[in-house]
Subunit: 352 residues, 2 copies
DNA sequence: GTGAAAGCGCTAACAA
DNA sequence: TTGTTAGCGCTTTCAC
């Protein structure tokens, strides 16, 4: 208890099994060239003594650190935590990433980094020097930051870029945005809608554009006008409300609206209600991002599920598979449309 | 880039500043016995080279690991993540704990542990051996687990027990449950209620009892009956619904109900609505735990805020303050009553 | 106040 | 297939 040292070290195991340190090390790391009998004997000693390698020592001797670092935007994350609006990005990241790491004996550690900061490099560089992670996961809006990519590449650390299609160092993963937007639009078209509105997200995020593209594709394919009912938003409630007001004031107002995130959908719902429109009877609504709030509105919102957990899980897998080469093309993890109560056939035509 | 090594080590700094490794180490660790001029010169080299100590090496040489480990219940945490109901315990833990750690150059790492498992000790023992954290934070229901406390004490690792009043190794912190329950009850009494219902939580959690005690104290103090309108629940929605049904079926039904968590409050709200009672006109409702969902009901719920972030922040502070002795008595971080739309004077009497 | 030596627990490289 | 040696980057002795 005095000065804290490892209780059971590789030495104890070696001694107990009557072999050299190196052989024990081989067993720990599942390396070849150990006779089964020997391996078994050593494993028995390990179990008996309850030995667990110190990751600090492993890292020190030039091996792996068993740490995966995930980077999130500081400002946005803290704002979400403080707001307590039920945004669960971090939770889903943990659900997918942390659990997958655990399966491989890894830990996921995450840091908040300021993108709009000129010393991102220093900040992140310090973390890397201190932790020496075996892999890094970048999330928007860091995913396409060339400074970060350059730094990571320089250090030779494999990294994943979530929500990116960019090429260059590391590998990219997307969350089915284009396809999901296409499907959400199709869902409305199949229901009989033809005047379908779309509220875009902030163009600081590439996925805003992808979502828009999916909408345009579905509309065009169905011979519908993909421009008239398109309104700009920036992911904020206020921008969503403004966009919805504009859309609903049109002579030829849309009978359905797809909004690029939950806050804007909420805003559209409130705006419609205030305008005396019932959802979904007078207006159908599709929400992007299946966040908790979609379950608490009245009616519950039909939403596009963003596969956050699955994507992080996949990113970790790719990072840890040292044999496979990093994917060249962006890996697309498909999203899913969750149909709830906010979508129905348009009122104007027989709904039966 | 080949075999990954530290880019800038203490050696480089020592060489650059023209001093011994030891002196640099003293500066890094803010130790005495370094002349100011010397310190400045070394600091300049550190800044110039962008040196950051490797925590692996620091830990190796018997110093600190700069890691704080937080332990949460595996089953409950994963269930919450999967449910996506907006439970934000982990987020608030991170907000308070992780940010406070960062202030001190520490990282917070967290693990999910199975309490209802006979090898908790082995599981946690392995994590401790691998990570060698400088401190551990236990959350319910681990906080009062004697196996865990024993293990930690044996290793000489300081630890905090959140949501506990138990004595023994480590130190305890509570989140103002008794006082908050008292205040919530007072709030209703002040509003003019006298038949106030209370739905208890699972007795696997000590805080259920504390909350109940606060209610009893306020009722008794006001000369009201603290027994008649008390119903048992276990934190689940189903149990809350059953309890609410029982309460509302009474001839002398309560005009207000306090439920020991958000799910049970939701259940009470739904039950009341189904019974044709308006909230708050016919029934006032107070929610324990100011989780996101309290903002999404109609009306929004008057709720007791559980100071999760503040408590974790405090726990980290206490863990890292190596000079101060660990607190003897439980540290109570006060909660707060957030008044929203679900409480009002009872209908029976003039409400003006 | 500063420096030199030893060693933490482990693995890479080499030798046997 | 196994063992030996050296060293990772840092902090602890202890000497000056």
């Amino acid at each position: 208890m005095a000065r804290r040292r490892q209780a059971v070290t590789i030495k104890h195991v070696a001694q107990d099994a009557g072999v050299s340190l190196q052989t024990v090390s081989r067993v720990i790391n599942n390396e070849p060239n150990v006779r089964p009998a020997m391996k078994e004997r050593i494993q028995a000693s390990i179990d008996k003594l309850g030995y667990v390698p110190s990751i600090a020592a492993q890292r020190m001797s030039g091996s792996r650190s068993y740490l995966i670092l995930a980077i999130n935007d500081r400002e946005r994350t803290i704002a979400d935590w403080r707001a307590r609006q039920g945004s669960d990005w971090i939770d889903q990241m943990l659900l997918g990433g942390m659990l997958k790491c655990a399966e491989h004996g890894y830990r996921m550690i995450f840091e908040l980094v300021d993108t709009h900061n000129d010393h991102v490099e220093r900040e992140l560089g310090a973390t890397i020097a201190a932790l020496q992670p075996d892999g890094v996961i970048l999330t928007p809006p860091h995913s396409d930051n060339p400074l970060i990519a350059g730094l990571l590449a320089k250090h030779g650390i494999p990294f994943a870029r979530i929500g990116s299609r960019g090429t260059g160092a590391g590998f990219a993963l997307t969350m089915g945005d284009e396809t999901s937007a296409y499907e959400a639009t199709r869902h409305l078209i199949d229901l009989g809608h033809s005047r379908i509105g779309f509220i875009t997200g902030s163009d600081e995020y590439s996925l805003s554009e992808w979502r828009h593209q999916g909408y345009v594709r579905a509309m065009t394919e169905a011979g519908l006008d993909p421009q008239t009912w398109c309104a700009e938003g920036d992911f904020s409630y206020a921008s969503g409300a403004a966009a919805a007001r504009r859309l609903l004031a049109m002579a030829d107002r849309p009978t359905a609206i797809i909004a690029s995130n939950d806050q804007m959908t909420l805003a559209a719902l409130d705006t419609a209600t205030q305008a005396g429109l019932a959802v979904p009877a007078d207006l159908s609504l599709v929400c992007f991002d299946n966040t908790p709030v979609t379950r608490f509105t009245n009616p519950q919102l039909t939403a596009v599920d963003q596969p956050i957990a699955a994507t992080f899980s996949r990113a970790v897998e790719l990072l840890l598979d040292r044999d496979a080469a990093a994917p060249k093309a962006p890996v697309d993890v498909p999203g899913e449309l969750i149909v709830r109560g906010s979508t129905a056939p348009p009122a104007a035509r027989p709904s039966g």
